[in-house]
């Protein structure tokens, strides 16, 4: 296995981008990443695209060759990777394997989702189809309700409070206010979050990530060749992937993200690192409760202590561990298939030291956590500052 680096990154602004198509979003992100890397089109050997549901959202399957074609790279193989909300992170892990194995050298891995070409109800229904359609949603469960039941369970078992959930949203909005690419670059407060309309008790509108359009891309290169290109490298130190039951009700413990635990254990072991050595993490906060469970299951806090740690400010920018410095899915936005790549891009900015006002001081290692559906798939990457 070879060591692998990211040498270029690019992303679009995230939001309700009515005037942009999926292919435009993919191309903008890809071209920015290639330019940042200092590679030429001829250098690119392979493409992977993370995308959850172009078939349903824009009635177009086979989107990877479409994006490659319009990027002027119709001659290279390109494949779409789908793993629900973890599509982007899983596309990155496939690309990482391709480069680490020696199969390919320069690989572009992108993620893109166009969610606003269908109505909001339709988009939510499509998102819900990442849960078990035959044994959860057919009985009336929404995506939000499944996470709400995890939240209720976590509150009953560990004493997590409504205020602690709200604090996740407040923190992530505060970080997004420092991120020009965020969908909601503005602060909010606990009172406002808690007074928002209920979606599925105890989760309100401000506990849920938005539906977004966006594209993101990174360029991978074997460490042995990084000197050939201008892009400032960041090393992918390790990767881990995990799985769990499809339906929430079949989980060993409803308040624990087992796939996340498994992915994290694998990533830490391969990296030879412990959770306390990680300086910052982008975690899959599709709901406020998910961030609380994730920071426990990634090993940053004891099980059941995630809410308390958040309330005590331990996850704020430049505190014990900076969580979701980008604003996270909650406030930077959720273009589903791109999310895993957006997270990797934030890690690169932090480790290059060019994250501006949201810079984590002396960041050496960063982690990204991307999750599919209600947690049946998860992928963790650990990134390291170039040395």
């Amino acid at each position: 296995m070879r060591d692998v680096a990211i040498i270029g990154v690019g992303e679009t602004k995230i939001g309700e981008l009515w005037d942009r198509s999926l292919r435009e979003l993919g191309i903008e992100a890809g071209l920015k990443a290639i330019q940042d890397a200092g590679v030429r089109g001829e250098d690119v050997e392979r493409m992977y695209i993370g995308n959850m549901s172009a078939g349903k959202l824009i009635d177009q399957e086979h989107v990877a060759p479409l994006i490659a074609d319009y990027a002027g790279l119709s001659h290279i193989p390109s494949t779409r990777i789908e793993s629900g909300g973890a599509s982007g992170g899983m596309a990155l892990s496939e690309a990482y394997k391709a480069v680490a194995s020696g199969m390919n050298d320069i690989v572009v891995v992108g993620g893109a989702e166009k969610m606003t070409d269908v109505g909001e109800d339709e988009a939510k229904k499509i998102l819900s189809s990442t849960a078990d359609q035959e044994w959860e949603t057919v009985f009336g469960a929404t995506f939000e309700s499944l996470y709400a039941m995890m939240a209720r369970y976590h509150m009953d078992k560990y004493g997590t409070t409504r205020e602690q959930l709200a604090q996740v949203a407040v923190k992530n909005h505060s970080n997004a206010a420092k991120n020009p690419n965020a969908q909601f670059p503005r602060e909010t407060n606990k009172d406002f979050v808690m007074k928002a309309p209920v979606v599925s008790d105890p989760l309100g509108m401000f506990d849920c990530a938005p539906l977004s359009d966006g594209g993101a891309a990174v360029v991978l290169c074997p460490v042995e060749r990084v000197d050939e290109f201008e892009g400032e490298p960041v090393e992918i130190v390790s990767m881990g992937e995990g799985g769990d039951t499809m339906a929430v009700h079949e989980r060993e413990e409803i308040g624990t993200l087992k796939a996340t635990q498994r992915a994290a254990e694998m990533a830490y072991e391969r990296a030879g690192l412990k959770p306390e050595e990680i300086d910052f993490a982008e975690v899959h906060d599709n709901f406020t409760i998910t961030e609380i469970m994730a920071i426990e299951d990634l090993g940053f806090f004891e099980k059941g202590e995630g809410g308390k740690a958040t309330e005590e400010g331990k996850t704020e920018l430049n505190s014990e561990i900076s969580i979701n410095t980008s604003g996270g899915l909650k406030a930077k936005g959720r273009p589903v298939g791109a999310v895993g790549i957006n997270q990797a891009i934030e890690a690169v900015h932090q480790l290059r030291g060019d994250a501006g006002q949201r810079q984590v001081e002396d960041a050496e290692y960063g982690l990204t956590h991307n999750m599919g559906g209600t947690g049946a798939s998860a992928v963790v990457h650990i990134f390291g500052r170039w040395s």
Binding site: D121, E122, K124, K125, S128, Q133, E134, W135, E136, T137, V138, F139, G140, A141, T142, E144, S145, L146, A148, M149, M150, R152, Y153, D156, P197, V198, V199, S200, D201, P202, L203, A247, V248, H249, E250, I254
Partner: protein, 138 residues
């Protein structure tokens, strides 16, 4: 949902029929073709097993932004219920005051209408749950 896709699971959704692993004895619902523990040793040995229909609430929520097909019922209560046999199901809880629900509430399953494909389309049936206490008064 396509008619055949729903029709295939009618037995399970109407009557709560799961399976029991012929190898280790573990009960599963919804049915699985192989036991996740015994895997190949259990193939073709998963026998039908009818759940007795009672269990207790593990966790719950009140849905105020509904699944589009359940808009008429909004707000409605969803729960994960652990059946006496140890398997867990996701379903509605009806005839209950939301404030009276807590983990441990004893419930009973019954077959009810879930939805329909418009006024002339197929009607979907499946299990929903009632608090056992509220049934005693009937």
């Amino acid at each position: 949902m396509a008619i055949a896709r729903f029709w295939r699971e009618i037995k399970q959704r109407y009557k709560g029929i799961g399976v029991k692993c012929g190898n280790c004895g573990e009960i599963f619902f919804p049915p699985r073709d192989i036991c996740p523990e015994c895997r190949r040793e259990s193939y073709k040995k998963m026998d039908e097993y009818e759940l007795n229909g009672t269990g207790e609430v593990i966790t719950y929520t009140r849905v105020e932004d509904p699944h589009p097909e359940f808009e008429d019922l909004c707000p409605y209560v969803m729960a994960i219920v652990e059946m006496d046999e140890g398997v867990r199901l996701t379903g509605h809880i009806v005839d209950v005051d939301y404030d009276d629900i807590e983990a441990g509430l004893e419930v009973e399953a019954s077959m009810r209408k879930l939805g329909e494909d418009g006024p002339e389309g197929m009607i979907y049936y499946g299990y929903k749950f009632w608090p056992i206490d509220s049934r005693r008064g009937e």
